[in-house]
Symmetry: C2
Subunit: 318 residues, 2 copies
């Protein structure tokens, strides 16, 4: 009998979500663990397996599962390694696919989380029927998945699509990125980038804002959204700035790969029009005439955790 | 009998070169005309045909030619149109492939000049055997040809690879680009960009340089190279600046598509190590750790006009 299920793992810098997926793309059950809690990758894999057991037992055990696919930061599709990931607790080169195969006793494939999300979006989401689009994940970091002619762009070494690490500010006082370089998109257009912008404004200006009532070290992008919803001008200014930085980068991406659409996914998209409007505005102001007002910018229409889990799981069907 | 030859046209902002190419990739003969001399596209096509006749007659006439392929700025592979090209005398949308077909009486295909050069390089040049590389053309403008998994990246609309129009300077006083936007790579890393840098230094500083002996409005990248060869420090500084701006952009390109190599082609590459060294330095300083010192940067090893002509001609075999 064909094994009827696959596992999809979405490993984020903060949380890791693992789901059981059937052949029709339904996520039957999911568990999650805190990524940062495990300083040893083996402890992480063991914890994942233990939690997975709880949802796998009810559907007939691991022998019902065909394989596991994982989306993880800096994951290499070709080698199965996670390499030099700035936002994960494990440094250097981690043979993650191999560790998963040994622990779970089934084939494992990995790719970067944004590539996985792109596959999920193409198969079940907003990118159905599209052959050329770009997926941008706006979470703890910023990830990218580039689809060209219906296929994920992996590049020569398997690491293509590191769109969070293009430079959007070349000035002296550009922000440091987690990867050690200055001015990268991720330092501005991630959830943490929004928190940095909020902290900067609260601590270096006297502008009146609801955000001043919070501990400046703990303002989240959710707090900024809540303030914007209450009409807070500074909160809107924070999203305008964030969107402008992202829009700049998107214009360059369009010049590079001329996608039909750019699909945004991840925590920051909860800010809705506060982030979408300035992104679209700057993007269209910045692209060459031939692309002005032509490239769609949209949010993922999959449920939050699903795109990445489904995309990751799709690797396991291959 | 199979027609044994194709025509390849390399249309640059300044010169247009047309060659007869055989099945083994030999350019048997070539002619050239000045692109800017023809303000009407029909006059351009007529002049091209008239010149072509001179080299086509000796090999047996146009009935020996299978088709014509052209590399031209802002050319669309899918539609056959040249659209909104900032560096050409013809504005709006020009149905160039159609005009060629009517005048030459044979099938015509067009793509942007850098994509054509990329195909030439992959078939006959430095990129033989490579499946993922980026071609950068450094001429009057800056063009790009991105090859992914052995195929030219055309994108959703056929215009992908406009790498001269990514932004490398977001500051207030960034240079205007020919396309109407500020801070684009082309305004710095083209032959005209080098001339602008030279003029800026000569007219706004008191630095001692051989370039001061020339009319500041007519300094060419060749003049800057000649001065560098004589040990002129300012000339070297000009190439260092140019290479730094190009290196910045290449780092972003690597983050996007993770190529095995970046191949530079066009007039500016005559500057040799003066341009190559600062490009490689800035690129490796700017890329994420996983790509540091890993991506080859090289010059085209095809003769100057050949890469583009051969690449363009390859379209006609399809």
């Amino acid at each position: 009998m064909e094994k009827p299920y696959v596992l999809g793992l979405d490993m984020g810098g903060t949380n890791s979500v693992l789901g059981i997926v059937d052949a029709r793309g339904q996520v039957l059950a999911r568990i999650s663990i805190k990524t940062q809690q495990y300083t040893d990758i083996n402890d992480y894999v063991n914890a994942l397996y233990e939690e997975a057991t709880k949802i796998v037992e009810p559907i007939g055990g691991f022998e019902m599962i065909r394989g596991i696919g994982a989306g993880a930061p800096n994951a290499n599709y070709y080698t199965g390694n996670i390499e030099q990931a700035p936002n994960l607790p494990w440094k250097g080169i981690v043979p993650f696919a191999q560790l998963l195969e040994q622990k779970f006793g089934m084939p494992a494939k990995i790719t970067n989380d944004a590539n996985a999300a792109a596959v999920g979006e193409m198969t079940y989401g907003a990118a159905r029927g599209m052959k050329d689009f770009i997926m941008i994940t706006l979470g703890t970091g910023v990830g990218g998945g580039v689809v060209v002619n219906g296929q994920v762009l992996y590049g020569h070494d398997g690491f293509a699509g590191e769109l969070g690490h293009v430079t959007v500010d070349y000035s002296e006082n550009a922000r440091m990125c987690g990867c050690g370089h200055k001015g990268h998109l991720e330092a501005y257009a991630s959830a943490t980038g929004v928190a940095r912008t909020a902290k900067e404004i609260v601590t270096t200006t006297k502008k009146k804002t609801l955000l001043r009532e919070l501990d400046p070290n703990n303002i989240t992008s959710k707090d900024v959204f809540d303030a914007a919803e209450k009409g807070d001008a500074v909160a809107k200014e924070i999203f305008d700035y964030t969107g402008m930085m992202l829009g700049r980068a998107l214009a360059d991406f369009i010049h590079f790969s001329a996608p039909e659409a750019i699909i945004m996914f991840g925590g920051l998209t909860k800010a809705g029009k506060y982030i979408l409007d300035p992104v679209v505005k700057t993007m269209n102001e910045s692209v060459m005439t031939i692309w002005k007002d032509k490239v769609k910018v949209m949010f993922s229409d999959l449920k939050e955790a699903d795109a990445a889990v489904l995309g990751a799981s799709a690797l396991a069907w291959e």
